[in-house]
Assembly symmetry: C2
Homo-oligomer: 328 residues x 2
């Protein structure tokens, strides 16, 4: 058995499947309306990390003893993810996405909203064609929770009383759920039993929680060149993420006052960003968040213990660590 020692080894292992998925996108997005592939491909082909398709394929191959294809369902999950990005950029009035100008800045909010809707309905349509009601139920309850997470996040904007529990509910919905169903659907495609299905869903959920926590740390600690988007945007948008929520709890009355003023302001100056960052470091907000992410990754890895060893299991374990260590 070849050992997995880099993330590239993981992606090489399932390269055939990932290439099948990539080449299927255009086919699934066929339409007479020319604006749709233009916008969808701008965002889909601008190169996300393809974590969700990889999770689905690895889980499927780990648990299956018979040949099966994850192409359509991996595309479904990437389309839902992409639709969410298009709508998020409208909600956040983002300028950049993956190092490129955000779609809403080129084609307008209107097009981003409607092409997002097209991607949602295409996902649904493609999933229905697979004819598996269990998969459809996993997908439909996930997209519902996804929308709830996004709305909860919007409601908590600039709300300095946001708790860690609020934060966990938000990131579970907006990020972790999609990784959870990538793994859950992978196990359903493999014909795994209910126990393994639940276990893999939980694995994906923990990965997703850690993934978003790292994302939120990087928004404070990364450099723009590395991240492919501006840093400090969470603060700019009034998004209270765990590093800041923890810091608000630990801060002195005077510091909290100062943080509140900065959070509520329309514009965050570089000086104010530096001040917030300094307080987060002082009170250990980054470290606290990293620890929480670490716990989720440990939980995820423990979940896989009872499963038979294989190169796919090794890859999933490697991916868990990769999510924790990534710098972009």
């Amino acid at each position: 058995m070849t050992a997995i020692s880099t993330i590239n080894d993981v992606f090489s292992l399932i390269n055939t499947e990932l290439e099948d998925i990539e080449s299927a996108y255009a086919d699934y997005l066929k339409t007479n309306v020319s604006l749709i592939p233009k916008i969808s491909e701008h965002i889909i082909l601008s190169g996300g990390k393809r974590l969700r398709p990889a999770l689905l394929i690895l889980t499927m191959k780990m648990l299956s003893s018979r040949p099966c294809s994850g192409t359509a369902m991996a595309a479904v999950i990437e389309f839902i993810h992409t639709a969410t990005l298009l709508h998020d950029d409208v909600v956040d009035q983002a300028d950049m996405r993956r190092g490129l100008t955000a779609a809403n800045m080129i084609w307008g909010n209107e097009a981003s909203v409607l092409v997002g809707d097209f991607l949602f309905s295409t996902s649904f349509d493609l999933a229905v064609d697979q004819g598996n009601l269990k998969i459809l139920k996993a997908l439909s309850s996930a997209t519902k929770r996804l929308a709830e997470g996004e709305i909860l996040e919007l409601m908590k904007t600039a709300d300095t009383s946001t708790t860690e529990d609020d934060y966990l509910a938000v990131i579970e919905g907006k990020t972790a759920i999609l990784m959870a169903i990538a793994c859950e659907i992978g196990s359903l495609l493999a014909g795994a039993d209910d126990k393994k299905q639940a276990l893999m869903k939980d694995f994906g959920l923990n990965l997703g929680m850690a993934f978003q926590m790292i994302d939120d740390v990087l928004d404070y600690t990364s450099r723009e060149e590395d991240l492919g988007k501006a840093i400090g945007i969470d603060l700019e948008e009034g998004k209270l993420t765990l590093p800041l929520i923890y810091t608000l709890q630990k801060a002195s009355e005077e510091e909290r006052q100062q943080l509140q003023e900065i959070i509520l302001a329309d514009f965050v100056s570089p000086e104010n960003f530096a001040r917030v960052y300094q307080l987060i470091i002082k009170h250990g907000g980054i470290q606290f968040t990293m620890n929480r992410a670490h716990q989720h990754i440990e939980t995820a890895k423990k979940l896989l213990k009872p499963l038979e060893s294989s190169i796919f299991k090794e890859s999933l374990l490697f991916m868990a660590d990769y999510i924790l260590d990534r710098d972009r």
Copy 2:
């Protein structure tokens, strides 16, 4: 058999079913995220005409020989319709909807986009729970075409070369498809055969085409008090509807030039609206559109000919005429 002589007779006939649907909404929209019912109910309970639920129930009851319930699927269709309205208002930057301030003006575009997404995914989830793949396929292909219709309309904004065929493709997607599947799903719930299913889908499609044509006529001819929203907004938004498309074809070179300037302007003055209206009347754009709507209603009514007489069939025929004659 009681005769149907007013639209109220139609709604009274299926009052129990419609009330069941109304009271089911809140239940289906249950969530921990408080903003969701607030926005959804603002728009759902502000009193649409409930044409789609009525079409579904009437079709189901006409074709079924055994008891069956259309409550969930009627709610699904109303939720999709509502989600579309929320997203449309963001796209159109509308101020008013059904005589009330549009949701995006109260809670912001962000909330309208995300609550629309929640309604879409709730519809999908609710439909999956019915466990009927044929119904799911009807629904998923319909929502896909709905999104295509909306995007095509956006692409054709202020495009004075828009043809009647473009217009037909737009309104089929954005309006007629949902009425088509209301009838199609009604027939599927009734356990009707493929032939009747196709026939009822076609009936709903023709009703929907006529419905949108009348809507587009009313946007030129109605008074604001009657319509519950501003008139002349299609022109203001650069939406070329059939009365204007036809007029552009018939207009002299000089008139066409003048129309083009008004269409491309950011703001339409009352004088310019009056000028456009005058040209539409002069060239018969309203009459032409009314004739087309009339043809669709005639086609729809002919489709029902082979079906056995019943009070439900009578109601569907009445509804077809009502759609043509309505003044709001």
